[in-house]
Symmetry: C2
Subunit: 513 residues, 2 copies
């Protein structure tokens, strides 16, 4: 969730009538499109998100920039595709990569982050939750435009033994204040953890403190639920019809409701642009108790089928955004970079390609613009959507070897020739689907049809232009090293929680899919 | 859609303060659960149905009585499972059967129909659309409690050559007024047909005429869209993102909006109980241009997986039903029989088993009652749902032979051991699913778990009781005969449209799946 307040005072310096919105991205991890009642989850357990949609604009055609967490989060804050901002790997062809704690890389200094631009314009910026753009001190979010941080640099995997792997630290601003499973408990047996409640309290405290409409803020509520291992706090455990995963969704829904209520109570709802989305599609490989729903879409996280990258999109801004609207604008989380800058009256960087587009006219005036969606997996452009057509240039779910070990990104969904278990190239004749009448990507359109020829020729020209001008960034996710893990984060000495790092033994990270 | 107005005068004879509602079932053919925006259709093209839900009670756990059209429609009007009311076959084990025009049978005289009971209580009853409970004169709906009829006895398949098969007649009351493809055109090339508009105009004319709140009515709007061959009227053609199927859905949605608006304009909305549902899940075997969506549910029409029998359910009754409610009551179209009687202050027949339950307290007071859902395929009880658990005693999609010919009831969905292509019996250890965390019936619960033992023992006792007391009706769908087709329906002579029936050559109907 991105929440951003507008500042009357700052606005008046550039434009008398302009108020700068406070941005507020709500950004839970891998919550699926189909996990919201408004998008068809049968148990209808997200009344607050459904209400948010009914008060704002619902975007059923909203996408993440990558089927994986860190690259998406990097794309949100840079407005650029992971292949440009460096959040990808060249260790293998079309491999997903992210930032576990053995990763050496992080967000390059050369990238310009949204909070850096907003800070220059007088915004107070806070990140609550998972940073995920590099955990080494040089990548610390407070060096990248954020004024405050409460959360962790990596996923909450664990518990670890602090010998082979250290437990992931939780930071408050510059320093760690404890570690997951030690000071911030997650009960792997019951699924109980107070983390989402802590992130909610942090958000409420921040809003309460920064409610002066003269002071614009940018709050990036980048929580880690519903990422596995799934957790929820005690009052939510066992309350969902959907099991533990549903409990976590209900807690997120509750928290969003509380945050919006808080904005209303603080009298700044009309100054605050809030956006709810997710970093990738629901992960389907973990069975029903740990997996979300991508509703009618094919496959899930890790894939470039719709289920991997179509995510919920809800824009909320009472008084500025008409209630109960549905926009079929193709949107992308990178657009939140451009849209936020636009609403703040700022210009995006002009010295580099920006993939995000400004959605303010979409959200405020119902405008619809043609634009492509690029589906990358690592260093490969797998597919492109333009209008209602999607062309797959490469298809792959995962390898037969992984599948035989029970790792299935498309459980129960097998479309011959589509959900392939080998990397299959279709560059000559891309696999084409019409996502309006075939949202599940089940029925490739015949190569010999006029419809195919017309759609593919339009998409191919977009692809050519995209590829001809593409300058990939330096890949950040190629090198791993045990020495860079969270052994001794800043502040560890005060807590007696410093661990001795092993010798540096860099290796080429192995990305199996 | 069932629409029923309450009569103040009649009500006052039995109960001073009671008003009898006008019932109004809206009942399109095989519209899928996932075809409504409110249930997650990504194109969000059903604003009127979504609005209806927001003004009433949405029932995400609503079911049809059978995965096929005629048996479901028979169940709606009798309140009884097809195995009781005769709408099944014993020609093969667990075979779906319905009423094409070669069928000899129909709704038995021994069955008591909802309009028959309402008529005795002073209701004016009209059926608009597909009767489907027998096309021979003895089964005419005006002999079974309806005062008026505009529509056809069978599906709108065709065009036929009137030699091997006659085109299906359209009736106005007692007599035919033309035939499909001749007088009531359906363009198989463009998909254009005005049928839904005609059914809409019929409904509006009826409401306009019967708007006196002293006169209760029962309107059964049993339209044939979105059954294949799919059609829509010219203003809707090409307007949907979903292709022709979506055009038909948009026209249904528009029509429902018009009908509800008409009820409001006529000042009888508060006296009229309206229910929207469908006769079976979306048919998935016809490819993307002719198929609807069952959203997260497994398979479609013809099967006893959720996609075959979970259907939309929306109850609307301004002033009596609180707006914006979601009820997880397990409901069934047979409940509309019992609920309508209850709202009319009438008793259901006491001399026979009635499978429907009275949902009036569910809809008006938010009550939730435990009750099983029985999933029959022909003469076999395939599965039972109780609470959130569903136990499959038999699994079958269709035969390998049919599948090899391209007939697929579960396209792109293959759950090994679940969507079986042989009839597989699981009576000893039923396949158990938790529909809350696994709505797609992908992950059978382990037989050795305590959860399994507990759920199966509860369901098995319900099954035992059900089967021990089951008295199947005389099967109506066993015998076919070319002589019984719609050669010379009443009124044909006036139109010069009588055809000479061939000799009677009864045969045992072949039901392949």
């Amino acid at each position: 969730m991105v929440c951003s307040s507008f500042d009357t005072r700052l606005g008046s310096s550039s434009n008398k009538s302009r108020k700068k919105p406070l941005f507020f991205p709500l950004f839970p991890a891998q919550l699926g499109w189909g996990d919201l009642g408004v998008f068809g989850e049968p148990s209808k357990e997200t009344p607050n998100l459904d209400q948010m949609a009914s008060e704002g604009v619902l975007l059923p055609d909203f996408y993440t920039a990558n089927p994986l967490c860190s690259p998406s989060r990097a794309a949100l804050l840079t407005g650029r595709l992971p292949i440009r901002n460096g959040f990808y790997t060249t260790n293998g062809h079309a491999r997903n990569a992210y930032t576990p704690q053995e990763i050496v890389g992080g967000i390059p200094d050369s990238e310009i982050l949204l909070p850096e631009l907003l800070k220059k314009a007088g915004y107070v910026n806070k990140i609550i939750g998972k940073w995920h753009l590099g955990h080494r001190p040089k990548y610390h979010p407070l060096k990248r435009g954020f004024d405050e941080w409460f959360g962790s640099p990596n996923c909450h995997f664990g518990p670890y033994n602090n010998k082979d792997l250290p437990n992931i630290p939780v930071y408050e601003n510059w320093e760690m204040i404890g570690r997951y499973y030690e000071d911030f408990t997650i009960d792997r047996n019951t699924g109980e953890s107070n983390l989402t409640q802590m992130y909610l309290q942090q958000a409420i405290a921040f809003i309460t403190r920064e409610k002066d409409p003269q002071q614009p803020f940018f709050l990036y509520w980048a929580i880690d639920a519903t990422h596995s291992p799934i957790y929820a706090s005690k009052p939510f455990l066992g309350t969902s019809r959907r099991g533990l995963y549903g409990d976590a969704v209900r807690e997120i829904d509750y928290s969003v409701g509380k945050i919006l209520e808080m904005l209303k109570q603080a009298g700044i709802a009309k100054n605050t642009f809030v956006f709810f989305t997710s970093d990738n599609g629901a992960a389907l490989m973990s069975g029903p108790k740990q997996s979300g729903s991508n509703a009618p879409f094919l496959c899930g996280k890790e894939t470039t089928f719709e289920g991997g990258m179509r995510v919920p999109g809800i824009a909320w801004w009472p008084g500025h955004v008409a209630a109960g609207q549905v926009s079929h604008q193709l949107g992308n989380i990178m657009d939140l970079f451009s849209t936020s800058l636009s609403l703040a009256g700022l210009q995006p960087p002009s010295d580099r390609a920006i993939d995000g587009i400004d959605l303010s006219a979409v959200i405020q005036e119902g405008k619809v613009m043609e634009r492509p969606i690029f589906y990358y997996r690592g260093n490969e452009l797998m597919a492109v959507r333009l209008g209602l057509y999607k062309a797959h240039y490469w298809t792959w779910s995962n390898s037969w070897e992984e599948l035989s070990q029970g790792v299935d990104f498309c459980p129960g969904q097998n479309i011959t020739g589509v959900t392939t278990h080998e990397q299959v190239e279709h560059t000559i004749n891309p696999l084409l689907f019409h996502l309006g009448r075939d949202p599940g990507e089940k029925y490739p359109i015949s190569v010999t049809s006029a419809e195919y020829q017309d759609a593919v020729s339009r998409i191919s020209s977009v692809v050519r232009q995209h590829q001809d001008t593409m300058i990939p960034g330096e890949p950040q996710l190629n090198v791993c090293d045990p020495a860079v893990m969270n052994w001794s984060p800043p502040g560890c000495e005060k807590l007696g929680k410093c661990l001795k790092p092993p010798e540096s033994k860099p290796w080429k990270c192995n990305w199996p899919h």
